[in-house]
Symmetry: C2
Subunit: 340 residues, 2 copies
């Protein structure tokens, strides 16, 4: 198997310290590849990057109308949130709307991702709960599917539960490929994650942004989820996070969502293009540099958007005394492959 | 440039999630390569992996005799310690022996690496100091060089200061290669780090373990540093850390020392062999898996040592609910290249 190209390098002083390989692909809603680097047929675990696709299971089950879910609820269903006040309050409200509470969540508890929220919780002498889990909004969405279907919500994280069957089918429809238990793992929050070719996620995100290639009902729901996420960028991640900052800066033009272990997906709606990125070694910062490089090359950013993306495409590295000692930077290969 | 081989893979469920490439080399004190994988001529930053070599600057300056430094002091000079009680007390004592205090340290302050020590400091309402910096023992050693030379210690971290000139010369002697400012960066603790071919570090560690290939004085000091580190494994890293556990398990036969960004170096004294490893992407856990794989293949471990090394060569990955969801494991390529 040929090695993927080096997409990001870390420089310390005047010499290369680390090299990050990976694959990147830009595709339209028909699945036509517009540009790519590396092996984009290789199946990768999308992890949290495709929460918006998983949320489409709510459509078929009729959960959105049944419980009159708000755009804030839908944004949280697409989110890897940081456990800040608005996230915890939002998921609590979402669960209330479907007649459930935090004890129905099967994602497990972890401390808030946001450092200030973590400190505040500790200072209050409270333990982290499942509400603080970055996936709790997605789980509330999955519970809404169980409630709409009228099935017992217990064990909704299991691959054979009707909820996960619906989630899998929704993702298969958007991707246009079958998911298989032969390339299946358990995600951090205990639901199944299925590997699929990287290029399928790029085409899928183009469909999420435009509704093209989907049934009218599913297409409308996909676009509503895209709108919900891009209108509430803080709910989708949190203060200071790449995904939130990019969506804020692009004001509805771009959806950007990371997934654990170096996955980045998104779409540029007005260009009708979706993208998918996997850093071979799982490094998140490097995958963000790759995504920033792609958006710089493709998304026609204005000056302010360019300044933001440059900060991620060339990330300054400081030492303990905050001296600038190096840089993690996307390589020229990215601009050459994705440039105009 | 040809890609280095895949040395570690992360499996989630039944599919590969991440791939870590790198180079590994095993050499004797003459610098003869016994086994290798990947490009071992490529210059890499050794970072903290060569603190024991840097500590040899104390020999030429006469600091060890002048201040009657103990084996504990020498172990701390070789350490990336975790800011636990014995580390902080040890460095404080070391500084006292050379007539200095914590304010002479130029490494900067960071919170203890050890979680319990970090919590205790926070609970006491105290701020982290330079003593908690994992490099404070190395810095105490460098300050002892300044004191023995009778030069002002201020700015001892600067490349042009007599201390860093001595440190650089000591490392060059042990490696048998010239270090160059053309491949130089600033380390996390503000001292210079010079990149050199990976294979040179393997040969250098064989010399540190055996004294062979060094002058009688330097060889004796190298062996004393090796003895000091392997007799005080907790001082060199900390509770539960790979380096500490390996050195405890091998009882003086093996020195093992990690460096930031996926570097691992060490030596198996009775075999007269040193090793050096660099994970291309800087992942520390992956580099520990590589080191564990090398030691399993080469160091003739007994059952207890084997059990420890297996835990690192095949690291279980759990999710938020502590379910086992995958494994980071060294590839067969390592055992094929380094096996008997």
């Amino acid at each position: 198997m040929q090695a993927n190209p080096i997409l990001v390098q870390t420089i310390r002083g005047n010499w290369v310290e680390n090299r990050h390989r990976g694959a990147m692909v830009l595709a339209d809603a028909e699945g036509q590849i517009v540009a790519s680097l590396g092996d984009t047929d290789w199946p990768v675990f999308p992890r949290s990057a495709i929460k918006s696709m998983q949320a489409l299971a709510m459509v078929g089950a009729g959960a959105i109308e049944r419980f009159a879910l708000s755009d804030e609820d839908l944004a949280l269903a697409c989110a890897s949130h940081h456990g800040e006040t608005d996230h915890v309050a939002g998921v609590t409200r979402f669960l209330g709307e479907i007649g459930l509470a935090a004890d129905a969540l099967e994602c497990g508890a972890h401390a808030p991702t946001n450092p200030a929220a973590r400190s505040a919780l500790r200072a209050a002498g409270e333990e982290p709960s499942a509400l603080h889990n970055n996936c709790s909004g997605k789980h509330a969405g999955m519970l809404s599917v169980a409630r709409a279907l009228g099935v017992p919500p217990e064990h909704y994280v299991d691959p054979d539960h009707p909820v996960q069957q619906r989630v899998r089918a929704a993702v298969e429809t958007v991707l246009g490929v079958a998911l298989t238990t032969e390339r299946c793992g358990t995600d951090g929050c205990s639901i199944p994650t299925y590997a699929a070719p990287l290029s399928a996620f790029a085409g899928g995100f183009a469909r999420m942004a435009t509704g093209q290639g989907l049934s009218p009902e599913l297409g409308a729901a996909a676009m509503r989820l895209f709108d919900a996420a891009t209108s509430h960028p803080h709910l989708v991640a949190g203060t200071g996070h790449f995904d939130t900052l990019v969506m804020e800066a692009f004001g509805g033009r771009v959806m950007q969502k990371g997934g654990a272990e170096g996955v980045q997906c998104g779409a540029i709606r007005d260009l009708g293009l979706g993208y998918a990125i996997k850093c071979d070694d799982g490094n998140m910062a490097a995958s963000q540099a790759m995504a920033a490089g792609l958006l710089l090359a493709v998304a026609r950013p204005d000056a302010k958007q360019t300044a933001l993306l440059q900060r991620y495409a060339r990330q300054i590295i400081t030492n303990v005394r905050r001296r600038e000692v190096g840089m993690m930077a996307v390589t020229d290969a990215v601009f050459e492959a994705f440039g105009c």
